[in-house]
């Protein structure tokens, strides 16, 4: 083997092994769904941790993103005298793209890292091994409630981001583009009324919520998989946490492209 192949193989093999573990963990978690009743308490706890604790950040960031979109697009529209349709553009952009994306980036940075750090610490302190020895199903006990909590929390938070984003856009519409607020809101609401062919719900809304559901699941699986594969003490936990955030953000961006393409009608 030449040095290039060797380096490449050396870098790729662990990455492939990790990806394989992640896919296995995702499937195993879905297979444990029947255990849900027993994990209900834990599910509520983690939904609270993942959802409620990140709500303030999501609200604030969502509001600003709405303002940014409104300002950027509004200025361009005004050049053509089309600023009346700003409500439509902000609503569609938020619902379809920005709200799920921004919300899930925040979740990746805060929740994927904390899941990786928590499970990683348990791993290096032999707690995960202890569960194995006690014949406790680690996927059902540790992973299922975390993954499900984030899968539920992500679309919910995205919905919040949609609302505050549209409000933020409205503030710009009123102050910078000199539109009236009720007209803006009406325009935005009309935009979201187009229902999809498959599901009788506002299409732009459910595309965004569907995306964020997939992202939430992905973030949690990446966080848990990284945590459970930690080795090497406190330094290993640090490395794991970083890798979890990095991987989940990369996956969100890639999945965002493919989901957006697939869900486009």
């Amino acid at each position: 083997m030449n040095p290039f192949t060797r380096t490449g193989a050396g870098l790729l093999r662990p990455a492939m092994a990790k990806a394989g573990y992640g896919v296995w963990l995702a499937t195993a978690t879905l297979g444990r769904l029947p255990h849900l009743r027993r994990r209900f308490r834990a599910l509520l706890d983690y939904t609270y941790l993942a959802g409620v604790r990140t709500t303030p950040v999501v609200l604030m960031v969502g509001f600003f993103v709405g303002m940014i979109v409104s300002l950027q697009v509004g200025i361009e529209l005004a050049r053509f005298g089309q600023q009346e349709s700003i409500g439509l553009l902000v609503a569609v952009t938020m619902a379809r793209e920005m709200a799920p994306f921004v919300t899930c980036i925040i979740l990746a940075a805060s929740v994927a890292s904390s899941m990786a750090a928590e499970l990683g610490t348990m791993k290096v302190q032999d707690e995960v091994t202890a569960l194995e020895v006690l014949s406790v199903d680690v996927v059902s006990f540790l992973v299922l409630p975390r993954v499900l909590a984030l899968t539920l929390a992500a679309p919910l938070l995205t919905l919040f981001a949609d609302v505050v984003g549209i409000l933020g856009g409205g503030v710009i519409a009123v102050t910078q583009l000199h539109l009236d607020f009720s007209g803006y809101l009406h325009n935005a609401r009309e935009a979201l009324k187009t229902t999809g062919e498959l599901i009788p719900l506002p299409e732009d809304l459910y595309v965004g919520l569907l995306k964020s559901t997939v992202f939430g699941f992905t973030i949690a699986v990446v966080g848990c998989a990284a945590g459970l594969q930690t080795s090497g003490g406190a330094r290993g936990v640090g490395e794991t946490t970083r890798a979890a955030v990095r991987t989940s953000i990369i996956l969100i961006i890639i999945f965002n492209f493919f989901l957006g393409k697939a869900l486009h009608s």
Binding site: Q125, E127, A130, L134, S135, V136, F141
Partner: protein, 242 residues
């Protein structure tokens, strides 16, 4: 019944177990002593299937542990208890919940039955008062005793203790040693005890083995081993007897 045949294990080219042979008969207690880093914990981890040997056989109740499927291994472990050297308690659960965990997760027992069993084993390790405390609020020795209670609560037929009395005061060590012997006699548990204490070996052991360079240097009743005239054994145990 535990049988080890020619077990070899290396980590990064360093041989830790090197053709180790040994048996523990049903209901018997084997004490393993040996220098720090000689592979005692590694040996226990092979018996419970956390590590696989590079070569050789590990048989528990006649089953080859490294060859079991995950389900079979889980079933076998339900009959086994393991006391971790570090205690290894789940950090977000209090002592009571930690001890109740294996019962809640692997049995259909009702909450009342679980509570009374947990209280019984916590009393055995003299921690009834600490039931509500979290691992971070317990001293190292107390965590160790909760770990012991958790290993015992399912009443396993085989139990592996990694330094059960390390970090405990002399009175508590004596109590724990007595408890281990009592369990062995009353429940006929098969046990392996890793320890650095000759007292513990004499109290609980039917047989004593000294592990060094990857295999048992000597094996016999604790008294025989103590009286052995092998220079290395005298050197190792003699230093401890003072």
């Amino acid at each position: 019944m535990i049988e080890l045949q020619q077990v070899t294990k290396s980590f990064n080219g360093q041989k830790v177990l090197d053709g180790l042979d040994g048996t523990v008969a049903a209901g018997e207690c084997l004490v393993v002593m040996g220098p720090s880093g000689s592979g005692k914990s590694v040996l226990l981890r092979h018996i419970i299937g956390l590590l696989r040997p590079d070569s050789g056989k590990v048989l528990v109740e006649g089953k080859s542990v490294p060859d079991l499927s995950p389900e079979e291994l889980r079933a076998l472990r339900r009959d086994m208890g393991y006391l971790f050297q570090s205690g290894a308690l789940i950090n977000w659960m209090n002592a009571h919940e930690n001890v109740a965990l294996p019962l809640r997760e692997t049995t259909d027992l009702g909450e009342d039955e679980i509570r009374s069993r947990v209280q019984r084993v916590l009393a055995l390790v003299q921690l009834e008062q600490a039931a509500e405390k979290f691992p971070s609020e317990l001293s190292g020795g107390m965590q160790k005793r909760v770990g012991l209670a958790r290993a015992l609560v399912t009443e396993p037929r085989i139990i592996l203790y990694d330094e059960p009395e390390a970090g405990l005061d002399p009175e508590m060590s004596a109590n724990i040693n007595r408890a281990i012997r009592q369990l062995k006699e009353e429940l006929r548990m098969t046990s392996v005890v890793v320890t650095h204490s000759i007292n513990c070996a004499l109290t609980v052991g039917d047989r004593l083995a000294v592990l060094e360079h990857g295999r048992f240097l000597v094996e016999g009743t604790p008294q025989e081993v103590l009286d052995s005239d092998m220079p290395r054994v005298q050197q190792f145990l003699g230093a401890k007897r003072d």
